[in-house]
Structures are given as structure tokens and as C-alpha cells.
């Protein structure tokens, strides 16, 4: 439409539009947000796919993520190396999954990854304890935390191995209709 922007080629923008839940304008806005995190590192010209990754510390300083107790896990879940260094593609992917239009199944998969602190593909009791501590910020006593976690696992665990696999988690999410509205970040 005669945009005169030189950051992406038209094919790249088409590809972004087809593979994420964002429009062209939002992709360009995301690029400017990515760029302002580290203006010296991020090139303005992405037409030849530069290999640029921003470290975890810069990304979690964004105002949308700054106060989120799970910010480190969110960024780590979307990074390929697991250490939280995001390229622009992974950055867009993160906000696309967290956007309003992402379907419940997709969000459930990434929510499971985020809450899985020790990355063993199960939500074991330690994962739940960590989650709860971050949610309540040490307001509950340790005994209460352990009790809550045990009850939660007891309730949701369907195959009896005392931890939650992805199937258990998904089953639990379908019973909580608020998931779609809470697992959402506006960018």
C-alpha cells in the first residue's frame, strides 16, 4: 500500500502476517519496540535476516513484563537456547501467543512450558511450589504452600503419578474459563 518502509520486504511481512496473529502495522510496531530495547544492537534493516539476539535482562525490562513474576520463565520458554536470548522472530512469537487472538490450545501449551520450572515436561510439586511462591510473594507460610500444592496435584492428577503431565494440565485448563482472559498481554 505504498508504505515506504525499508525494514522488511513485502514477502517477509506477508510471512509474518500468515504465521502470527499480528497485522503488518503491528509487526512494524513490534520491531520499533524491539529496536528501542537496544538501539545499537538491533539493525533497522531486516531484509536479509540478520542474526541478532537480545539478552534476557533487556527483554524483562520492558514495561509489560517488568512486574510479572514469571517474566524470566516467559522469555526463556520462547527462546531457542533456553537462556532467554530472543531473536526478533522469537520476540514476535512470544507476543503473538500472548495476544488476544491466540486459541486456547496454543496458549495452554506455552503456559505449561512457562510453569515447568525444571523443564522436565511435567509439573511436579517443586514447580507448583515455585509458582505459588511467586504468585503470593511469600504471603503464605511454607506449610500452607505445601498443602495447597498437594491438594492441587491430587485434584488434577488423572494418572496417579503425583505430577501433572500436559494432558492433566490441558484438562484442568478447559475447566477454567478465565484462562483466555488472564493469559494475555497487550503490546
Amino acid at each position: 500500500m505504498g508504505n515506504k518502509q525499508t525494514i522488511f520486504t513485502d514477502e517477509q511481512l506477508d510471512a509474518y502476517q500468515d504465521c502470527t496473529f499480528f497485522t503488518r502495522k503491528e509487526i512494524l510496531r513490534l520491531h520499533s519496540r524491539y529496536h528501542e530495547l537496544a538501539p545499537h544492537l538491533v539493525p533497522m534493516d531486516y531484509t536479509n535476516d540478520p542474526d541478532c539476539k537480545l539478552p534476557l535482562a533487556l527483554i524483562v525490562n520492558m514495561p509489560e513484563l517488568n512486574e510479572n513474576p514469571f517474566r524470566n520463565r516467559i522469555v526463556e520458554s520462547f527462546s531457542e537456547d533456553g537462556m532467554g536470548n530472543l531473536s526478533f522472530n522469537e520476540f514476535v512469537d512470544m507476543f503473538s501467543v500472548l495476544s488476544e487472538m491466540a486459541p486456547r490450545e496454543l496458549k495452554a501449551i506455552y503456559a505449561f512450558k512457562i510453569y515447568d520450572f525444571n523443564v522436565d515436561n511435567y509439573l511436579c510439586k517443586e514447580d507448583l511450589v515455585k509458582t505459588l511462591n511467586r504468585l503470593t510473594k511469600e504471603e503464605l507460610t511454607p506449610e500452607e504452600v505445601v498443602l495447597v500444592c498437594e491438594k492441587a496435584i491430587e485434584e488434577a492428577d488423572l494418572d496417579g503419578d503425583n505430577k501433572l503431565s500436559y494432558a492433566d494440565f490441558e484438562n484442568m485448563i478447559t475447566r477454567a474459563p478465565d484462562f483466555l482472559s488472564t493469559f494475555h498481554i497487550r503490546i
Binding site: C19, E26, E90, V92, F112, V119, L132, I173, F179
Partner: protein
């Protein structure tokens, strides 16, 4: 002898073996180990007891005569026994089998990132001895993943071929929802759609018309995306809403989203009315009456005087047909040129027909939009399996990711802790056995509160009724007295909800959601009764005998009253926001020296919005530009509420179930509000006699007749349209046809509701089946463990 267990045996011989072994033999290390946990967890393998074994392997699973809960009551929790089932007692071989079960590797398999495969390098922070086994699991996982990397490539191929088989939009939707990384998705997209985009059509010998079709679909896709981007850029108030949600959370955001939805509805109504109704008549205004030319400011508030003669109200519209030329012997429109049959002419535009059909069609379209958004919102918030306690779901879905301000985040943590503490106390203590007197006392308080609320509602309705009767009997209407009735109504709307809040605070409900529902219900009763009394005043008194009240144009009068009500409501809201919230905060800060800010009452404010929208819908028949007033009001309201919130209020401590509440509000917008307005408007059009001296329907028995007259006019001017009047007679005016259509709709609704019922039953059965499968699995695993131990005769740790 102790190990005579044979899993493959399904006949009843093994039954007696187990029963013997379970009861009497002392040296049953493993079997005691197997049987004891039967007493522990809730979903425990009672299956280990033999009657279950027979039934699990033999009979149909659905005929299981017992459920987990049946045995739960008899057995007691014993944590020591429970531990024996836990992972670190299982051998590595069992764990390997467990971890490679298909259900453990399904679904999330596509998402396992590369770093999880190198899990042996990850630092293990857990200090339990289960960490040893989790490492061994991951090592097994790594092995299996190495074997399956080639399988991964196959999965890509599979995905690409799946996408090729679908239509383009379906494929895009599926691609977006796939849990791959963005780079992988782009690669899949290139693979899947490369052949479609390239001009390899010729080599594939695709037929000409299909090539054209593909080309059209491709250009349509490009156009659609560019249009979508234009529409998305029109996203109104994106950053203010982001600020608000960052500070107050999803609950308060839902109020502002609702406000934006109402604004869009009114914009739609205004555009349609403006295009088809206001613009044609404004371009050809009727001859002006020229009294009351002095425009005072008060007229803007009362709607009388200059405004009453303007395009705003019903009285401005004429019952003429607009043409650009006139017939040869027409005398009324002498200033128009004579029609030349050879030149193209404008189709004669009949204002009465336009009025009727514009209102009818816009109401119909709004109905469709409301039903669609209601069903979509209901689908989002629908809980497939009713469970009153979803503790784990609470933990994972409770954190509102939109909140970004640090004070709000801290508040949210406190809110969650309180909620969890309450849930835990409920779980551990069970139901408190309240004493009889306590319960009676609470019941008395509830009854008293309800009686007070109902009496206050009835009293206020009666007050409005008597005031309206007094106003009617002592006509002529003076200017300032005109504002008395709207002021009283708005004052009641403002003060009584405060009384209701006080009552709910005294009643002290146990659960906050019940509290919210009760206060919404009471507010709704108040507003419904007030609007009902006013409708009776307009349609039952003013419209029926207009001459006795000295009114020449009763529709104008009703339109003006609605206009005044809307404006007074707005004025009172502004006053309440500034005086109420602002002064409250100052009072608390200066006088009481506490930093407690008022809380934004979402339910009350949403009901105010719905009330305003009801008035607009009621009034659009009598004042076609009323949606414009509502648009301006909503616009100003947004900024006012936003600044008041940011300055004066704090986030609520009560949890707010956003998706359920949104569904409730959209339903309330549809059911009492829109349907009530639609019924009143239909009643007016169908039965009430329009006034004889003003408006587009003068000299007709009902407004509805204008449609019939227009159809007859069309038929007489152009005989080819005879089918229109036939259609009108047989379809619209014939009750049999309407009965048949209604009957068909009811049958379809009944069939669908039966289908939904059946599906719900199936879902609950599947849930039971999942639980039983879990029990089976546990049973098999423990028996497998027993077999391994028997065959190895070493310690479980390898």
C-alpha cells in the same frame, strides 16, 4: 507362591489366588506393598482387589459398578502408604516404560525445544533423591529423542501435506495455531504454499478456470489483509485501555470494552439513520414555522423550542415523497421541473416508508449482532465440566498477565493469597456447622435486607408514577418544570444503588460472586421498574389521549422526554464522578488521614451503561438523532471515567470473573434492554395511532400502514412489482405464515438443545472413562514393577 500373580490370566481362577494371598500369607513383601496403597489416595487402585481386576479386564468399562468416591469414604489417608507408590520407589526400567508411553509424549512433543533435549547439561537444583531419577528419565528421553529426530522430519512433512490439503484460509488458521517456533512456521509455510504461488500451473496442467480461481483467491487474500490492517488501525482507545488494564486488571478493562462496544452500536445506528433518514429530509426541509426563534441555553437541555423544530425530533419529518421532478399536472411541487420520460430520474423516495423500514431494519441487524456476540461470549466462558472447586485451575489461571504497575501487582498478590487461604480453610475445616440460632439470625438479616430493597424499589416506582401523573394533569408544560421528572429519576438511579450496596455489606455474603449477582439483580429490578413506569406514562397515557393533554405532536413530546432523561443521566453521572469520588478521596485523606481510595464498582457502572442504551433504543423511533447524543455522551464518559479512575480509585480486592461477567452483561444488554425496547417500538408501530398534524405518519391509523401504502404505490406506478403486494399480503399480514415460521424455529431450537444435552452426558462419561483408565494404568504399572522385581531379585535401584 507369593508371586503367582499372572496378569494375562483373565479367568476367575486368579481371583481366588489373590484373595488367598492378600489375606493370610505373611511374607508378602511386594503384595503388601501393592495392597496397602489401595487404602491411601483417592483414585487409588482398589483395582488391585480382585473383584476390580475381573471387572476391569473382563467387563465393559462403562459397567463398572463403583466409582472412586465409593471407596473413598471407607479408607483413610495415610501418607506413609501413599509414598510407596511414588516414583522413587520404581525401578529405572519401569520409569523408562512409563516415560515412553504414548500419552506422555503426545501433544507437547512438537514443542520440545532443543535445549530440553540436552537436559543433562542443565543444573539440577532439586535436592530430592528423585532428581536422580528425573535425570535418568531425561537421559532416556535424550536417547529416544535422538532416535526420533528423523521422525521429526517426518512430522514436518506430515504437517506440510496436511496444510496443502486444506483451503487457504483454513490452512493459515491451522498454521497459526501450531505450536512451532516462528522460524519453523515460516519454513512450513514456504514448503506448503510454494507450489501454489509459483507459476507451475502450466506444468501441472491445471484447467483455465481453476487457475483464474486461484489467482482471484490470492488477490483477495492480499486485499483482505490490507483492509484488515486499516480496520485494525482504527482500534479506538488502544493505549488508554492498556494503561487501565495495567493498573486495574481485567475486570475494570471489561467495563471499558463494553463501553466501546456500545459506542460502535450507536455509531452503526447513527450512520444508518443519518444516511437514509436524516440526510434526505435535511436536504429538503419542510416549510418552517418560525415561532420560538430565541435560542436559550436551557433549550439544549430540555429539547424544546428551536430543537423541537429541528431534524432531531419526529416532528420535523414529513409524509411526502421526495422526487427530483414532478408529474405534468402536479400542483404541490410547482417549483420542480417537469419529468422528462427520456431522461434518467431519481427513484421517488418516500419518507414515511424510509422511516419505518430504516428503524425496522436497523433493529433487526442489531438483534443479529447481539445474538451473535452473546453466543460467542457464552462459548468462551462455557465450563464443560461443572466443578465447584478447581484449585489447580485457580492457581494457573489466576494471575492476570496484563497488570503491570507494581502497586497493582502487589495488590494482586494479596488478593490471590487471601483467596487461597479462604479456599484452604474451606477445604480443611469443611462446612462449619453453624448453630441453629446463627443460621436463623442470618436468614432474618437476609429477609430484612431483601424486604428493604424491594420496598424501596416499589416506593420509588410509585413516586415516579405519581409525579408523572401530576405533571400530566397540570399541563401546559413549563420549561424548568420539564426537568423535574428526569432529575427525580436520575437521582433515584444514583442513590438507591448506594442503599443496595449498604444492604449487601450488612448481609455479609460468604462468597463474593453471590454478592455481585445479588447486587446486579437488585439494580436491574430498580431500573426495569423505572423504565416500565415511564413506558406506561408514554405509551399508555400520553400517546393514547394526546388531545386531552393539549399536545399536538405527542411523539415529539415523548422524544423530548427521552432526550431529557438521557442528558440528566449524564449530568448526574458527571456530578457523581467529580463530587462523589473526588470528594470521597479528599475526605478520607484529609479528615480521616487514611489512604483508602474508593473502589470502582464495575457492576453498577455497567448497568448504568445498559440503562442509557435502553433509553436510546426506546427513543430512536421518536428522535432519530438520539444515537448521536449517546455517542457524544459515551465519548465524554470514557475520558471522564478514565481520569477519575486513575486519580481517585484503587483496584478492588475482590476477584472478578471477567469472562463470566462479560457474558452476563451482554445477555443483560440483550434480554431486558434490547428486547424491551424492541417490544415497545413494535407495539408503538403496530397499535398506536400517530398524531394527525405532525410527522411522517400523519393521517394514518397506525405507523405500520405506511408500509402497506408504499407497497401499493409501487405497484400502481410499476405493474411489474405486483408480486411485492402479493408477498406483503400473504407473508407479512397472514398470521398462519408467521406461526409456521415460529414453529419451525422452535423445533430447531429444541433439537439443538437435545443435542447439547446428549453431548454433555457423553462428556461426563468420557471423564469417568479417563479416571478408570488412570486406575488401570496404575494397576498395570505396579504389577509390572512386581514382575521386574521378581525377575531381577535385586534392589529397585539399578
Amino acid at each position: 507362591m507369593a508371586y503367582r500373580v499372572n496378569i494375562s490370566q483373565t479367568d476367575s481362577d486368579s481371583e481366588s489366588d489373590f484373595e488367598d494371598m492378600g489375606g493370610s500369607k505373611p511374607g508378602q513383601g511386594t503384595f503388601r506393598f501393592i495392597r496397602e496403597p489401595a487404602a491411601s489416595t483417592q483414585r487409588c487402585p482398589e483395582s488391585l482387589q480382585m473383584d476390580n481386576f475381573r471387572e476391569c479386564t473382563g467387563a465393559n468399562r462403562e459397567d463398572l459398578p463403583f466409582t472412586a468416591s465409593g471407596h473413598m469414604r471407607d479408607e483413610t489417608l495415610d501418607t506413609g502408604q501413599r509414598k510407596s507408590l511414588q516414583r522413587h520407589h520404581w525401578s529405572a526400567a519401569t520409569l523408562k516404560v512409563l516415560s515412553s508411553m504414548p500419552s506422555r509424549t503426545a501433544g507437547i512433543n512438537a514443542v520440545i525445544p532443543k535445549y530440553a533435549r540436552d537436559s543433562s547439561q542443565q543444573p539440577q537444583t532439586s535436592s530430592h533423591d528423585s532428581s536422580h531419577h528425573s535425570k535418568s528419565i531425561q537421559a532416556d528421553f535424550v536417547q529416544e529423542e535422538m532416535e526420533e529426530i528423523s521422525a521429526e522430519e517426518n512430522k514436518y512433512e506430515q504437517l506440510v501435506s496436511n496444510l496443502r490439503g486444506l483451503s487457504v484460509s483454513e490452512a493459515m488458521r491451522k498454521l497459526r495455531a501450531t505450536p512451532l517456533s516462528l522460524a519453523d512456521k515460516m519454513r512450513v509455510r514456504r514448503l506448503a504454499f510454494r507450489d501454489v504461488d509459483e507459476s507451475s500451473f502450466i506444468s501441472r496442467n491445471i484447467a483455465c478456470y481453476r487457475r483464474l480461481g486461484l489467482y482471484i483467491s490470492r488477490t483477495w487474500r492480499h486485499c483482505l489483509f490490507s483492509c484488515l490492517s486499516v480496520l485494525a488501525s482504527l482500534q479506538l482507545w488502544h493505549s488508554p485501555m492498556k494503561i487501565l488494564s495495567g493498573r486495574f486488571g481485567t475486570g475494570v478493562l471489561s467495563y471499558f470494552l463494553f463501553l466501546r462496544t456500545l459506542l460502535l452500536f450507536n455509531l452503526f445506528l447513527f450512520t444508518i439513520n443519518g444516511l437514509f433518514l436524516v440526510f434526505p429530509q435535511a436536504v429538503n426541509p419542510p416549510p418552517h414555522d418560525l415561532h420560538s426563534n430565541n435560542f436559550t441555553g436551557l433549550e439544549l437541555l430540555t429539547g424544546t423550542g428551536y430543537l423541537s423544530q429541528s431534524v432531531m425530533f419526529y416532528g420535523f419529518y414529513t409524509n411526502t415523497t421526495l422526487t427530483t421532478c414532478r408529474a405534468v399536472n402536479a400542483t404541490k411541487t410547482a417549483d420542480l421541473p417537469i419529468c422528462d420520460p427520456l431522461q434518467p430520474q431519481m427513484v421517488p423516495y418516500s419518507i414515511p416508508a424510509a422511516y419505518l423500514f430504516t428503524i425496522a431494519i436497523s433493529f433487526f441487524i442489531i438483534c443479529i449482532i447481539l445474538v451473535y456476540s452473546m453466543s460467542k461470549s457464552f462459548g468462551r466462558s462455557f465450563q464443560v465440566l461443572k466443578s465447584n472447586r478447581n484449585l489447580a485451575g485457580n492457581i494457573f489461571c489466576i494471575w492476570d498477565f496484563k497488570v503491570s504497575k507494581n502497586t497493582s501487582v502487589r495488590l494482586q498478590s494479596e488478593k490471590i493469597s487471601t483467596q487461597l487461604k479462604e479456599l484452604m480453610s474451606e477445604l480443611t475445616s469443611g462446612e462449619d456447622a453453624k448453630s441453629y440460632t446463627q443460621r436463623l439470625c442470618r436468614l432474618m438479616v437476609h429477609v430484612l435486607a431483601w424486604v428493604i430493597c424491594l420496598i424501596s424499589i416499589v416506593l420509588s416506582a410509585m413516586a415516579v408514577h405519581y409525579l408523572s401523573e401530576a405533571c400530566i394533569t397540570q399541563s401546559p408544560f413549563k420549561d424548568t418544570e420539564l426537568l423535574l421528572l428526569p432529575a427525580v429519576v436520575s437521582a433515584i438511579n444514583l442513590l438507591l444503588p448506594g442503599l443496595f450496596n449498604l444492604c449487601t455489606w450488612v448481609e455479609n455474603y460468604d462468597s463474593p460472586s453471590v454478592c455481585v449477582y445479588v447486587s446486579i439483580f437488585r439494580n436491574l429490578m430498580l431500573k426495569v421498574s423505572l423504565v416500565g413506569v415511564l413506558c406506561f406514562r408514554w405509551l399508555g397515557r400520553i400517546a393514547v389521549e394526546p388531545e386531552s393533554h393539549g399536545l399536538q405532536c405527542w411523539e415529539n413530546c415523548v422524544g423530548q422526554e427521552l432526550y431529557r432523561l438521557l442528558l440528566m443521566d449524564f449530568v448526574f453521572t458527571v456530578l457523581y464522578t467529580f463530587l462523589g469520588e473526588f470528594l470521597w478521596r479528599l475526605f478520607f485523606k484529609q479528615v480521616l488521614r487514611r489512604n483508602r481510595k474508593p473502589v470502582f464498582d464495575i457492576a453498577r457502572n455497567v448497568l448504568e451503561l445498559i440503562y442509557g442504551q435502553t433509553l436510546t433504543w426506546l427513543g430512536v423511533l421518536f428522535a432519530p438523532l438520539l444515537p448521536a447524543v449517546q455517542i457524544i455522551k459515551l465519548f465524554v464518559l470514557f475520558y471522564m471515567k478514565k481520569s477519575s479512575l486513575l486519580l481517585n480509585c484503587q483496584a478492588s480486592r475482590q476477584p472478578w470473573r471477567a469472562s463470566q461477567m462479560t457474558t452476563l452483561f451482554v445477555s443483560l444488554l440483550f434480554f431486558p434492554s434490547y428486547l424491551g425496547a424492541a417490544v415497545s417500538v413494535t407495539y408503538t408501530i403496530w397499535t398506536i395511532k400517530p398524531s394527525t398534524e405532525c410527522g411522517p405518519f400523519r393521517n394514518l391509523t397506525t405507523m405500520f400502514h405506511s408500509g402497506k401504502l408504499w407497497v401499493q404505490q409501487l405497484e400502481s406506478s410499476n405493474t411489474l412489482l405486483f408480486w411485492l403486494s402479493w408477498a406483503y399480503d400473504f407473508l407479512v399480514e397472514n398470521p398462519l405464515f408467521l406461526f409456521v415460521v415460529n414453529g419451525v424455529f422452535l423445533i430447531v431450537i429444541y433439537v439443538h438443545s437435545q443435542v447439547v444435552d446428549g453431548q454433555r452426558r457423553i462428556v461426563s462419561r468420557l471423564q469417568k472413562q479417563i479416571e478408570n483408565e488412570g486406575k488401570d494404568k496404575k494397576f498395570l504399572i505396579t504389577n509390572l514393577q512386581a514382575l521386574f522385581e521378581r525377575s531381577s531379585l535385586v534392589s529397585p535401584y539399578r
